[in-house]
């Protein structure tokens, strides 16, 4: 057999396998971004998907309960109650008013069950000199 064909077959097998694996990986881990405002307009099937929602942590709503941590995310005056049930400790940046990104599913009761929480302290990494009139 021609060397080029042999080589092409090898390349083909590798590419097809990896593409298939990638496709499975996408199916497994795809997460839809939604804003809190959008959630109310989603259809039933869309609501059952794995979602990623961002917002700010409403001050005073963080509650450490046995086995979970509850808090409320706020975005443009819309509120979303969240229960974090993941095992990893929450990041240091997670606190009142922090910008948070939660991943998980929405329950039938409208409470969002998050398996992952990322948080970014709103004031940091950011270039905003504050001439607070001092």
């Amino acid at each position: 057999m021609n060397t080029k064909i042999k080589f092409g077959v090898g390349v083909g097998i590798i590419l097809v396998t990896l593409t298939a694996l990638g496709w499975v990986g996408v199916k497994e881990s795809k997460t839809y971004y939604h804003t809190i405002a959008e959630i109310s307009g989603l259809s039933q099937s869309e609501l059952s998907r794995h979602m990623r929602v961002s917002g700010n942590v409403a001050p005073g709503t963080i509650q450490h309960l046995p086995g979970r941590i509850d808090f409320v995310l706020v975005e443009e005056n819309r509120r979303l109650p969240v229960s974090y049930t993941g095992t990893d400790p929450l990041p240091d940046t997670f606190k009142d008013d922090a910008q948070a990104l939660v991943e998980g599913r929405l329950g039938a009761d409208g409470r969002f069950t998050a398996d992952q929480v990322q948080a970014k302290c709103a004031s940091k990494y950011e270039v905003a000199p504050t001439p607070s009139g001092k």
Binding site: F7, L18, L21, V24, S29, H64, P89, D92, Y125, K134
Partner: protein, 691 residues
């Protein structure tokens, strides 16, 4: 001092423009005076940026809180080393630091080739100055680190303010690795500019032959070495600081640093095809173009806010500048390629599927697929929003599914590739080279299976690691045996001699061995365990063969923080071994807190303790314990990779026996430093000693 710094930056900007315009004029006129003055302007940029950086460091050290950047990243109580590291911990400062590193590379290149390659260097100078100019535009006009804080008073008069104290560095960055990780990674990113500039210059100037590859080999290896070290230090930082028990999470920032590493690795391998066989010329040129583009693209990704990431800098207005620059790079590269592609014709064809050539082709194919997978996973939210209107992200399962098999295939090729002969390999030589290592791998697999390596990928990793290690050892042994037979001496001193005579080849083997160690470390992930528990004085938690006993929970003051600390006694197999102190630091300056993980690391496993906060009801500390097997091998492998690369950078020692076979180079040339030593190594590199 801030005025001094801004002015130095402005002058650097002017010099870079001159280096470009003067350089183009020099290429047109071939006027020696112009060539020299454009080169000098290019080198002067380095000194000027150096002055700007020095003045910014001075502003930090003298606690000048009238400068916005200093206010945001420093405070009076901050330790001195962190005041210096604050230079690269924010957007503006890190862009300036980036410029500095780039200018140092450019200075070194222009200086070391000042009287060599007169046809090529003016082109290189212009391309380098253009890249430098882009960053200087950002430093000067878009993200200047020397901005002062001012408010508009009555009548539009701006009054300057000086804050009493700064806000302090983010606690996450207050860690010794902050000093070394960004400089390493940035040195990697910027270093790939050099091979890029030479490749583009050779293409535009139709510079004959493979010379640009010989000239840039060392520069590429230096950049690659920094990039590897930077990636692993970043992983170590995440592991030791972020407190989630792992070191790699496929975060966009991590991916951004991995992508140019993947294509850079492919480039380092595929250039050998061009050196030896005159093949893959188009491919090599494009690989280096892509690597450089990915360096810029990665910077764009992490700084523009396009992709959300935990580490990412805030959204900023530098995004469009980067897009413009990326378009410029790609259009210049494409135009140069279309115009001069006939000069990149291949000299040879692929002869056989079982050959060194094809192992390189597969290596390149796989590395490139890995890069495409990482890239598409990273920009998936942007792509999906563009294609379907819905923003969708993919997570770790996607990356792992593709990259774990890819990693194992690469590991396999690491063992097989270097032993295959060029053109075609006979069945006999396959048996001779791979019989013993293959048997060794199978035996290792048979031992590992009952020990608990039931996970398919982990088992494959064990088998392949042993296989690759044995092929490497066999190579050293065979070469050393030849030398020891001819010149006497024992096998070990012969192995050292062998290595020093062909550092590129044997240094490469050491790098491969380092990669094997990293893979062994990664395979340990399949056996990770973790447990979380609320503890009181005297309560116990068991994880693996460790028993953790909580001794005390107290508050301790530090230099610029106070810390909540849990004292935990660790018993291994029932015997008391040590105390570990996971803590949480609260920084007064910034009202922020930072978790300090307590890690006890052995080659077998890491015990990793996080103080996850205290329960508000009972006020008891919550401890999250992780048991991560083999993690230390990753860091150790990284050290071996770096040492191997350094070894490969050392010029060859005058070879006695080996060189006789290649009469066309006198042994003396190998002593010459820098570029001239490279062609000498090329002739016999890859030659089998027993053939």
């Amino acid at each position: 001092m801030d005025l001094f710094g801004s002015f130095a930056l402005l002058l650097a900007f002017v010099c870079a423009i001159y280096a470009i315009i003067g350089g183009i004029a020099a290429i047109r006129t071939r006027n020696p005076f112009l060539i020299k003055s454009a080169r000098n302007a290019g080198m002067a940029v380095c000194g000027l940026i150096g002055l700007a950086v020095a003045s910014l460091v001075y502003l930090f050290l003298s606690d000048n809180f009238s400068i916005a950047y200093v206010v945001q990243h420093s405070s009076r109580t901050q330790p001195t080393f962190l005041k210096i590291a604050a230079l690269w911990s924010g957007q503006e400062g890190s862009l300036l630091f980036w410029s500095l590193l780039l200018s140092v590379y450019i200075f070194s290149v222009l200086w070391s080739y000042r009287s060599k390659h007169p046809e090529l260097m003016p082109y290189v100078g212009v391309i380098l100055a253009t890249v430098q100019l882009f960053f200087l535009v950002l430093n000067n006009f878009i993200a200047s680190p020397f901005k002062m804080i001012g408010v508009a008073g009555p009548g539009g008069v701006i009054s300057w303010l000086t804050q009493p104290d700064g806000r302090g560095l983010t606690p996450l960055l207050q860690y010794p690795e902050m000093i070394i990780h960004p400089p390493m990674l940035y040195s990697g990113y910027t270093g790939f500019t050099i091979p890029f500039a030479f490749a583009l210059a050779a293409l535009i100037g139709r510079y004959p032959g493979e010379k640009w590859i010989h000239l840039t080999r060392r520069w590429t290896m230096i950049a690659w070495c920094f990039q590897s070290a930077g990636i692993l230090l970043g992983a170590h930082w995440a592991y030791a600081v972020l407190g989630w028990g792992g070191y790699w999470s496929w975060d966009p920032v991590e991916n951004a640093s991995l992508m140019p590493w993947l294509t850079g690795t492919a480039f380092l391998h595929s250039v050998m095809m061009q050196e030896k066989r005159g093949m893959m010329k188009v491919w090599n040129v494009w690989l280096v173009f892509i690597t450089f583009t990915l360096c810029i693209f990665g910077t764009f990704l992490t700084r523009s806010g396009v992709i959300s990431s935990v580490h990412a800098f805030a959204q900023s207005d530098i995004g469009p500048w980067f897009i413009g620059f990326l378009i410029l790079i790609l259009s210049v590269c494409t135009a140069a390629y279309l115009k001069n592609r006939d000069y990149l014709k291949s000299d040879n064809k692929l002869d056989s599927v079982v050959s060194r050539e094809s192992s390189f082709l597969f290596n390149n194919l796989i590395l490139l697929v890995a890069c495409i997978a990482v890239l598409s996973g990273t920009v998936f939210p942007v792509l999906s929003e563009w294609a379907t209107g819905q923003k969708i992200s993919v997570g770790a399962p996607f990356f792992n599914r593709i990259n774990i098999p890819i990693g194992l295939m690469l590991l396999f090729l690491t063992g097989v590739g270097p032993l295959l002969a060029w053109r075609r390999t006979s069945l006999d030589s396959l048996k001779r080279n791979f019989g013993v290592p293959l048997a060794g791998g199978i035996v290792a697999g048979a031992i590992a299976w009952p020990l608990g390596f039931k996970d398919l990928f982990s088992l494959a990793c064990v088998i392949l690691s042993v296989f690759v290690t044995m092929t490497i050892l066999l190579e050293f042994y065979r070469g050393a045996r030849v030398i020891s037979a001819r010149g006497g001496g024992n096998i070990f001193s012969s192995a050292i001699q062998l290595t020093l005579r062909n550092t590129r080849r044997y240094g490469g083997y050491v790098v491969h061995f380092g990669i094997v160690l990293v893979f062994i470390g990664i395979s340990g992930q399949a056996f990770n365990q973790d447990k979380q528990m609320e503890m009181t004085s005297g309560s116990q938690m068991r994880i693996g063969r460790y028993t953790l006993v909580c001794q005390a929970f107290d508050t301790v003051p530090g230099p610029n923080y106070t810390s909540e600390r849990v004292s935990i006694e660790v018993m291994k197999d029932g015997r008391e071994t040590m105390m570990l102190y996971p803590e949480k630091r609260n920084y007064g300056d910034s009202q922020e807190s930072g978790t300090m993980v307590a890690i006890s690391s052995t080659p077998r496993e890491d015990l990793y303790l996080v103080y996850a906060g205290h329960s508000p009801q009972s006020d008891r500390p919550v401890i999250h314990a992780y048991l991560n097997p083999l993690v230390k091998w990753v860091w150790f492998g990284g050290v071996v990779v770096v040492l191997g690369t350094i070894l490969a950078l050392i010029p060859n020692r005058a070879p006695a026996i080996v060189m006789q076979a290649v009469a066309q180079t006198s042994p003396g040339t190998a002593h010459a430093s820098g570029a001239q030593a490279i062609p000498a190594t090329v002739h016999y590199e890859g030659r089998r000693f027993d053939e």
